[in-house]
């Protein structure tokens, strides 16, 4: 122990340890730093694997080829009308997820309000949403392509079906879980039906609803990509399939990474939005 302390004691030990303390405290707290570190590690392993020829660079091109290609700004696949760029494909897919989720949220909200206001209809609504919820979102793809076709509406419909059941169930559960005291007090304070929904029930279920939206986003994100890979003729999933068919493995890798990063980013954004809405819990 003494031997270890000796080199530190001369000079200005206080200043030095303070700096180290600050640094060591900062590292575990910075999520961004850990995020970058984790990805750096993966990229290094990937590069190393290619360099050692464990990975066939024809099938899995190393980052030293993939990344410059990704940043070249000219990544697209196909010819003529079928030509699809990464940015364009991503925008299309995100718009589909957004539209489908918004529609799902809207219909789920209507179902939840009906279920609470009209106990008779609740008995009809619950079995429907309970049997919709466990259906895997991808299971809707064959049905949708057969019925609606391979256009954008089909993708939106898949997202809608993917989120409707779980969102309705979560909203109804959140509404049922509102502490009875709030409702009793609001009623005794002469709150009208509309104000009850707007000022009491809605803010009370925001935590549950935000979690429901985040969870169903993952389902929707996966379902729409699977749909685009299975036949729908545009979007990020379609781009990846096209790239694979044309043997552009760099683009396949970039597509996969884009799926991951965008999914992560949207989830973070929803989390931040939720935290803003939930300031009252702290």
């Amino acid at each position: 122990m003494q031997a270890m302390q000796q080199p530190r004691s001369p000079g200005k030990p206080g200043q030095q340890t303070a700096l180290i303390n600050r640094f060591t405290r900062w590292i575990p707290q910075s999520n961004l730093l850990w995020f970058c570190l984790a990805w750096l590690l993966i990229i290094l392993l990937w590069e190393f694997g290619s360099w050692m020829e464990w990975l066939n660079p024809q099938i899995l091109p190393p980052p030293s080829q993939t990344l410059p290609y990704a940043l070249s700004g000219n990544i697209s696949i196909g010819f003529g009308q079928q030509k699809t760029g990464l940015l364009e494909a991503t925008t299309i897919t995100l718009a589909r997820v957004g539209t489908g989720m918004l529609a799902g949220l809207l219909v789920a909200s209507c179902l939840a309000v009906t279920a609470i206001e009209l106990p008779v209809l609740r008995r009809l609504i619950l079995p429907i949403v309970q049997s919709l919820a466990p259906i895997a979102p991808v299971a809707w793809i064959p049905f949708t392509i057969a019925v609606i076709g391979i256009g954008g509406q089909a993708a939106i419909f898949i997202v809608f079906m993917a989120v409707l059941g779980t969102m309705s169930l979560s909203l109804i559960a959140a509404l049922d879980d509102i502490p009875a005291e709030y409702l009793k007090i609001a009623r005794s304070l002469g709150t009208s039906r509309i104000r009850m929904w707007w000022h009491i029930r809605l803010p009370a279920i925001v935590p549950g609803a935000m979690t429901a939206i985040r969870m169903s986003f993952f389902g929707a994100w996966m379902a729409v990509l699977a749909g685009e890979m299975a036949g729908i003729n545009s979007g990020l999933g379609y781009m990846i399939i096209m790239a694979q068919q044309m043997y552009n493995m760099k683009l396949v890798m970039i597509g996969i990474l884009a799926i991951g990063f965008i999914g992560f980013a949207v989830d973070r954004l929803l989390l931040l939005a939720g935290a803003r809405l939930l300031q009252w819990t702290r």
Binding site: P179, E181, I185, S188, G190, T191, W280
Partner: protein, 285 residues
């Protein structure tokens, strides 16, 4: 059952410069039977709560106190019998009635002033005016500087004071309190009891309050309805408390009544301990 301390005289609220006044509601429970399951039920043959009186329901948990309070609020309805409010049988939420619970009285997503302004907004008052009024009522409970705080940022006692401020704002004729101070420390509880008595004296509101705290019941009540839980929840006795106000726990008269009630509660506890069905009922409740 004679009635004492009829305090129904109309009084003005101190915050208001207007001449608004109120008379407490008169509540009558008659031949009430209400059951939830095979094990939990409550009976009240006759309980009259006079206008402007302060009645306390005293008893151990599981004897149906909260049930009676819900019936009085018109949030629940008896299987048999009726609750009448100023000679009208209650068919829905009781008019001009405010509830205060042990916790969760304030809506956590609203600030203190928004909470107090909420019932005023329900009545159609404009937002700025309602908030202006709300700050006046907060001033009365000494919390005007916390108007913009959210409930999570305030202590339990402060929250109950804000709930009380909101109660004053709604000018109720009936105030129903379900163990409102049980979650507070002793000093805060004493302070809140004084606040409550002030509100009561200044407003003439009828108060029905639940507590399991004998001391609290004696400090506040005009009348104490003693509730027993065996064989079913029922009102075992109704006592008029004629002690002078402000009440002093050191007063020999106070102590005599306290001992009387103590004996009753102890007897009630012994009965319950020898009744296994009741214990399960308590666990459910």
């Amino acid at each position: 059952m004679d009635t004492v301390n009829n305090m129904s005289q109309a009084t003005t609220y101190p915050a208001d410069n207007t001449t608004s006044s109120t008379t407490g509601a008169r509540l009558v429970f008659s031949n009430i039977r209400k059951s939830f399951s095979d094990t939990v039920s409550v009976e009240a043959d006759s309980l009259i709560i006079e206008s402007g009186s302060l009645t306390v329901l005293l008893g151990r948990s599981g004897c149906g106190k909260t049930t009676l309070l819900n019936l009085a609020a018109g949030l629940d309805f008896p299987d048999q019998g009726s609750v009448s409010y100023d000679n009208q049988i209650l068919q829905g939420p009781a008019p001009s009635t405010t509830l205060i619970f042990q916790t969760r009285n304030l809506f956590p997503w609203m600030t203190a002033e928004e909470n107090v302004a909420f019932p005023l907004r329900n009545q159609g008052m404009a937002k700025t005016e309602a908030l202006e009024h709300a700050r006046q009522y907060l001033k009365q409970v000494g919390l005007e500087s916390f108007a913009g705080h959210k409930p999570a940022q305030l202590s339990g006692g402060m929250r109950q004071r804000i709930a009380l401020a909101r109660t004053i704002a709604t000018k109720p004729r009936l105030l129903l309190l379900d163990e409102p101070f049980s979650a507070l420390d002793m000093q805060t509880r004493r302070m809140m009891q004084r606040y409550l008595l002030d509100v009561w004296k200044n407003s003439g509101v009828t108060i029905l309050m639940i507590t399991h705290d004998l001391h609290e019941a004696l400090m506040l009540a005009d009348r104490i309805a003693l509730m027993a839980s065996s064989p079913t929840g029922h009102i075992a006795d109704i006592l008029d408390i004629k002690l002078e106000r402000p009440r002093d726990p050191e007063d020999p008269a106070f102590r005599t009544v306290q001992q009387q009630l103590d004996r009753f509660l102890e007897h009630e506890t012994l009965l319950a301990e020898h009744d296994p069905t009741l214990e399960s009922a308590n666990q459910q409740a």
